[in-house]
């Protein structure tokens, strides 16, 4: 086994030094009856070449596309080459949580810079070193809001939130008999203000809304904040497409008290849904309730600036069952990818990419609306995703697209019965005019193609 530093002579020397005849002698602490007593029923190990070929075969059993018009929480963006090159440095990817600051300043300073930039994007004051993904970030935000609000036990969740984020919230709230998740309905593609007003009361700790929401529509945080703050609750914005921060106002400046969500778009590929990058940013007043690792600036013995893990009194290894969360390992290397991405992009890059995404999505929408069987469902400002109703059969449309190696938008009826027959489309900087024309051309011929099938 090439990864084991084994040789007959050295192995024997180790055993002699320990004073046992064989490695198995060291298993004496495991009662005989609890040992396996046979070899694992698994294949033999493979050489690097054999395993590489086997895994390439496996990767090839996934279908590749010329273009994906599907977003829905996992966005395909261009990843600059510098990112893979930098994160391949062993100093970054093989190290662990920076428990010993003097030998981990690289990771610690990077996290401090990452925290600065997440605060910049969200317009808030404090964030952590990352959370797992958008769904679990919503859970941490909701539980934190309940701690901050004190004696309030209801969290309102807009139906415009990513359906899977809502599922993850439901799973994590189920064990808490004393906490309640209540859904707020949609009107014209955004959170229904009348339904919100009806459900806001003195027991509501927080309201979670998508920004933009799952349907691609931007929620007016400022308009939502007024009644929510009047009821003494916190407004939590949930962003599943971090590129939108280059287009829409920072949630912290638009009325949100907390901002959370998914930042995989910053330097990552869709990766079948993970590893992704959860984030949560809050106001300074709430910093001692934030979950997860937080890095702070300090001085060393000689007065030089350095960085350490801080506010650890919130965390599981100190506070055990009274901790703000159980999170330990987070998404460190994905946060590094995002940090490098933000550094390469800079303000001009993020703004420019956002404008390009908006332009491509608007163009896609206009071209699709020229087809007779696609029509608007509601009219809201959007970023790079939007909903159109389709008069035809989604299955036929999907088959026609796949045949041409295009992945169409999402069949919304899967998650929203009220939007049966509607499709959620996405376009990013990766979609050329030519790809959009190919899609339009295929859609124009779907009925004909369906008959051919």
């Amino acid at each position: 086994m090439r990864y084991l530093p084994s040789s007959p002579v050295e192995d024997q020397a180790l055993l002699d030094a320990i004073g046992v005849p064989a490695a198995e002698s060291l298993l004496a602490g495991i009662p005989e009856a609890l040992r396996l007593g046979r070899e694992l029923d698994l294949p033999e190990g493979g050489s690097e070449q054999e395993v590489a070929w086997q895994m390439m075969g496996q990767a090839n059993r996934n279908m590749r596309f010329c273009a994906q018009f599907l977003g829905a929480g996992a966005y395909d963006h261009f990843v600059p080459s510098a990112i893979d090159a930098l994160i391949s440095r062993q100093e970054w990817f093989t190290a662990y949580t920076p428990y010993q600051p003097e030998i981990s300043q690289g990771t610690l300073q990077h996290i401090f810079e990452y925290q600065t930039l997440i605060c910049d994007l969200t317009g808030l004051e404090v964030t952590n070193a990352s959370l797992y993904d958008g769904g679990t970030a919503c859970v941490e935000a909701a539980l934190m809001a309940v701690r901050v609000a004190k004696k309030r036990s209801t969290v309102l969740v807009s139906r415009g939130l990513h359906p899977m984020y809502r599922e993850v919230l439901k799973t994590n709230f189920a064990p808490h008999d004393d906490l309640h998740l209540v859904e707020v309905g949609l009107k014209d593609g955004v959170t229904d203000l009348a339904d919100l007003a009806a459900k806001l009361n003195g027991d509501v700790a927080a309201v979670l809304v998508g920004y933009p929401n799952f349907l691609g529509a931007v929620e007016d945080l400022t308009a939502l904040a007024a009644p929510i703050h009047a009821a003494g609750a916190l407004l939590v914005s949930v962003t599943q497409e971090a590129f939108a921060f280059g287009w829409f106002e920072a949630p912290g400046r638009a009325g949100a008290d907390m901002a959370c969500g998914e930042a995989m778009s910053l330097g990552n590929k869709p990766n079948f849904g993970g590893p992704f990058l959860g984030f949560l940013a809050v106001k300074d007043a709430h910093k001692r309730e934030i979950p997860g690792r937080v890095v702070g600036q300090t001085k060393d013995l000689e007065g030089r600036t350095g960085y350490v893990l801080t506010l650890t009194a919130r965390e599981q290894h100190i506070r055990r069952d009274k901790a703000t969360s159980n999170i330990c390992s987070n998404q460190g290397l994905v946060a590094l990818r995002a940090n490098i991405f933000m550094h390469l992009a800079g303000p001009a890059g993020l703004t420019g990419l956002a404008e390009l995404n908006a332009a491509k999505a608007q163009h896609l929408r206009e071209r699709l609306l020229e087809l007779p069987d696609l029509e608007p469902v509601f009219d809201q400002p959007f970023f790079n995703e939007f909903v159109l109703r389709y008069q035809g059969d989604y299955a036929a449309l999907e088959a026609a697209c796949l045949k041409e190696s295009l992945l169409p938008g999402l069949d919304l009826g899967r998650f929203y019965p009220e939007y049966q027959g509607c499709i959620l489309w996405c376009a990013t900087e990766l979609h050329t005019r030519q790809m959009i024309e190919s899609l339009v051309e295929i859609l124009a011929r779907v009925p004909v193609l369906a008959e051919e099938v």
């Binding site: 694992l40 029923d41 290894h317």
Partner: protein, 509 residues
């Protein structure tokens, strides 16, 4: 090894007008602005403006202040810092995997679904438990999923129950997890070897008595939802009465959760499913060599007994066999099953840290049955070699063979006013990452060393020689240790001020 010069914060290097990214030319009309005025992005305050080469140099220089597994032994106990094979990274970067969309129809992602199915099968055989979910993103997420399975089991039988028992030797994530799953934690006392105390334990100093497992089970019985037990425990000792523990808990229908952080000592040697474990998590970033990434991403698959399988998170991957002609090799297709009425629901937005699963699968295929067991045995040999070499110079917590890690304390050095923290910091001056310190909590001044199977005799000897030298330095020149580190990029850092007056981001001066 370290870069000596200071690398300032990138923000301090920013120069207006510089850029590290050129955008593709627009081939569609410019975006019309339909945003309400108050929702238009009003600019950025910190995003730096740097060229690509400046960004690359910045992150390269920062990296040189880190210590990694390729620098040498990384003996963090309980963290299993083993070699991270480059093949795993290469395979996980194949576009067939990285470009695949989590919402794509099942028929288009057969490679991914097959990989998930196969990895689950490997983990089933390794743990002896038939149910597996790969959704949890890390060990703590796995724990939470596992405890939610326990809760769902009890709810299905009438009541969720109130209490989870956790030994005082356990990881902090265990009690934090139980609380997040709505349970009250009752602490189980452990014996000096970290194993669970069956009988009540009286502290000779205070005279205070703590209830042992037998008393707690007798008194709390039907209130106990389960117990979370790390095995081997955090002292590196196998819970040799595990079967008795699980039998006792099962007698009141309480379930047994095993924290699998230390599974690197058991793969191919013993299977939790064979000693009464109902549910457990594995850390793919520990046992299965996926990189730690400076704090993640990891993966925390949960394996469970048959009676918990109905509650596993959705979706569950299913394999269908395609009918073929006689004598032909059967073909399989894979799909997600979302229709699981008793499921606890989703614990991750999609299917977990898929890229990490690809790496773990590659590790499994490279090792095979024989290699997995050889790795376990070598990890145990390495820990015991360190035990015998350092015994005498450092106080050994338990003087008997350990499994994959070995715990010392600073008792012998304390008389020179040298403590665990000083020993750890002095190791940095000698060019090594320190072990885990002050954990487990039941060993005062603990130094918890886990070498893993990756270290050859030369590396182990060099590390042990250094530890022995530090023990001599502690006697002869304790100030060397008190001042350490002096050769790292920074001296000891002021953590108290960092917490009292937190500066958590850069702001423009």
């Amino acid at each position: 090894m370290f870069l000596r010069q200071r690398e300032p914060l990138s923000f301090e290097r920013s120069v207006p007008g510089k850029r590290g990214m050129d955008l593709p030319k627009a081939d569609v009309p410019a975006a019309r602005d339909t945003r309400p005025a108050h929702l238009k992005r009003s600019g950025f305050a910190a995003l730096p403006e740097l060229s690509e080469v400046e960004v690359i140099r910045h992150f390269t220089r920062l990296s040189k202040w880190n210590y990694g597994v390729d620098d040498g032994i990384y003996p963090l106990g309980s963290c299993t810092m083993k070699h991270n094979p480059r093949l795993n990274e290469k395979v996980a970067g194949l576009p067939g995997f990285t470009d695949s969309h989590p919402m794509a129809p099942d028929a288009l992602v057969q490679g991914n679904l097959e990989l998930i199915y196969d990895l689950q099968a490997w983990l089933q055989e390794i743990t002896g438990l038939p149910g597996v979910t790969l959704q949890p993103s890390a060990g703590a997420a796995g724990e939470l999923t596992g405890v939610m399975l326990i809760r769902a089991y009890h709810v299905s039988r009438g009541a969720k129950r109130r209490v989870i028992l956790i030994p005082d030797s356990g990881h902090g994530t265990n009690p934090a997890t139980a609380a997040m799953a709505g349970y009250e934690v009752v602490e189980l006392p452990s014996l000096p070897d970290g194993t669970i105390a069956f009988d009540d334990v009286t502290d000779p100093a205070s005279g205070k008595t703590r209830k042992g497992l037998r008393t707690l089970v007798a008194e709390l019985g039907p209130e106990i939802a389960g117990a979370m037990i790390t095995n081997p425990n955090t002292v590196g000792v196998f819970e040799y009465r595990f079967k008795e523990v699980s039998d006792l808990l099962h007698s009141v229908d309480a379930l047994v959760y095993m924290d699998g952080a230390n599974m690197n000592a058991l793969v191919g040697v013993a299977r939790p499913g064979d000693f009464g474990v109902d549910v457990m998590h594995l850390n793919l970033h520990k046992t299965f060599s996926t990189p730690h990434g400076g704090g993640g991403p990891g993966a925390g698959p949960v394996c469970c007994a048959e009676r918990l399988m109905p509650f596993l998170p959705v979706p569950v991957v299913v394999r269908d066999t395609v009918k073929v002609g006689e004598g032909e090799v059967p073909r399989h297709t894979y799909r997600w099953d979302w229709d699981r009425p008793e499921s606890i629901g989703k614990v991750h937005t999609f299917y977990g840290n898929f890229g990490i699963l690809v790496r773990a699968m590659t590790y499994c295929l490279s090792h095979g049955s024989d290699g997995l067991k050889a790795a376990t045995l070598r990890a145990i040999v390495n820990a015991n070699y360190i035990r015998v070499r350092l015994k005498g110079a450092y106080s050994l917590h338990i003087d008997s063979p350990s499994l994959h890690e070995v715990v010392f304390s600073d008792t012998l050095q304390a008389k020179h006013d040298v403590h665990t923290l000083d020993i750890a910091k002095r190791l940095i001056d000698h060019g090594y990452h320190p072990p885990t310190i002050y954990f487990p909590l039941i060993v005062p001044g603990a130094l918890m060393i886990e070498p893993t199977e990756s270290e050859g005799k030369d590396e182990l000897d060099a590390f042990c020689d250094t530890m022995l030298q530090i023990a001599r330095e502690a006697e002869e020149n304790p100030d060397l240790l008190h001042q350490a580190p002096v050769l790292a990029p920074l001296r000891r850092l002021d953590e108290t001020t960092a917490a009292r007056k937190p500066v958590l981001r850069w702001t423009k001066p």
